[in-house]
Symmetry: C2
Subunit: 326 residues, 2 copies
């Protein structure tokens, strides 16, 4: 019997989950649940239901994958839905994870459901890279670099500037910093030394480009602490050359072993992703399989990627996994 | 109370384990157990016992880390010692892992001990990299490259050639292959296309270097299928520039997502290690912590890195790990 998955929320992430489920033959998609009018939602084939109909689907869904945003949706939705469903979310506001976990855990423990939170690539796969490497090399230092990739928050911030018609912002690791870290130097790096920002901006007809550029590069929190480059281009160029949402990054552990730390080791986990949302969705789907299994074996409550035996992510049986991959 | 560790076998790996335990304050080293005469074994400080004394230490050791070789030691030692101890080994003969696992599991299930086998970096961390990435990107292809690093088996093979005084062999990934894989091309690669071999050879006085070189590059299994370069150098140069045992490598998953596989993703896990043995030892020590915990919670039998929740590798408590690393 296949694992029956529901998707809650159908933006870029929900679309990615729909595509990912089609790549996993041990799963089937029950449907997409939306708070919008169902007839307004165009899927790639999945049935669309109003969110309210979920209450009638309790017995027909093994795991519900929550595809809302971390700012407003998930803090409410994950605990609410964990009352009746095994759930997986991609809650990514790092500082609020412990509080989110506690709220979800209370509900899930009581309801005997299993909730996996903060699943994706950061938090998620990058967190796992940090944990594994840090446990192996306790005397060492972690570095996380993001990019090259599109930051939607930063792109939005540029679009809000007067005179800007459209914009796309790329976060880019500084080569010299990466090089120093990979060389085992364990440098202390400032914000500016780690990442730079490159902006492609479409100015409105007659707008003051010098002022727009000044407003971007001096914008507190978003750009002021970085070396920021601004390119003014046409809407056509933006559409043709900057349409995607690629992202990625790298987690590096630089550590030392030996009687006097005389041997250096570099552990590196890196991602180059054509589609941020589809990769995140693929991680969610693999962990949905784990949530299903944890629940079947009686492991209830709110869990993270750190709690999941890696084997639980695979559709194959243990013997085959060991023979093929170990 | 600290986790009490015993080391069984004291070659490069055992020495690495001794050093690694000193980096982990939740552990203490009970002693080194050797089949040699104890007075002949010089440690960095650990007490040395004859292997026979292990039978008196049943209650004083939480986990025994087995540091013997995969060819002759571990196939016998791991099942034998799992009768009385929780054990961790680095059994690395990939093809024989399923059989080793079964033998160890029978003993450990009966004895209610916990045995973690094939722990290290390959098998071990590379296996985990393959499993995670493969579960996330089911439509894709795995690539493993080893090096740049010293292969001891290949170095030994050269040393056995008539006229060779000493030698060191480096396995090196072919840049063009790495580049193609990282570019998302999913090429089919032959042995020769993936790795090349570089040999530094000290010839004996008056030996025929042309013959030695010919014997190396045509040696079946070891060199014939690779592009192999041979450099003749002095013993002094070998000692000064090729004394270490660095190694490393990279596991790459090249996969695609989307309705038509239109988005490419590259997941890469790489290691650059100054000391192969000390890094392997550090992985063993982290998993010894996991073996201890699995046993405490009643999980008996033979397990692999795939079975261990990542959290179990850390000395810190769950709340701190989540707050700091997720």
């Amino acid at each position: 019997m296949r694992i029956r998955i529901g998707i809650y929320g159908y933006g870029n992430l929900g679309k990615g989950v729909e595509a990912a489920i089609a790549q996993n033959s041990d799963m089937e998609l029950v449907g997409v649940f939306t708070r919008r009018a169902p007839q307004m939602v165009q899927t790639r084939g999945a049935t669309v239901y109003a969110a309210d109909e979920l209450q009638n689907k309790k017995d027909g869904i093994d795991v519900l994958i929550l595809c809302g945003g971390s700012a407003r949706d998930l803090p409410e939705q994950t605990p609410a839905l964990a009352k009746n469903f095994n759930v997986v979310d991609s809650f990514d506001t790092h500082a609020n994870i412990p509080c989110h976990l506690q709220k979800v855990d209370e509900v899930a423990q009581k309801a005997k459901t299993t909730a996996l939170i903060s699943v994706g690539w950061d938090p998620g796969m990058f967190s796992l890279a940090r944990l594994y490497a840090g446990c192996i090399l306790p005397d060492g230092k972690d570095y996380t670099f993001w990019g090259k990739g599109v930051s939607q928050g930063h792109s939005d911030a540029i679009r809000r500037i007067d005179g800007v018609a459209d914009a796309k912002q790329y976060t880019i690791p500084v080569e010299a910093a990466l090089h120093a870290v990979r060389g085992g130097e364990q440098p202390a790096l400032t914000t500016r030394e780690k990442h730079k920002r490159e902006c492609f901006v479409v100015a409105k007809e007659g707008a003051d480009k010098a002022r727009i550029e000044r407003e971007i590069v001096t914008m507190p929190n978003y750009f002021a602490d970085y070396d920021t480059t601004v390119h003014f281009i046409s809407q056509k160029e933006l559409d043709e050359n900057h349409a995607g949402l690629p992202h990625g990054g790298v987690v590096i552990r630089s550590g030392a072993t030996g009687a006097n730390g005389e041997h250096k080791h570099i552990v590196e986990y890196s991602l180059k992703l054509d589609s941020n949302a589809e990769f995140t969705a693929s991680v969610l789907v693999a962990f949905a399989r784990a949530a299903y299994r944890l629940n079947k074996e009686g492991t209830y409550g709110c869990k993270t990627v750190f709690d999941v035996p890696p084997m639980y992510l695979s559709p194959e049986n243990r013997e085959d996994i060991i023979a093929k991959l170990l």
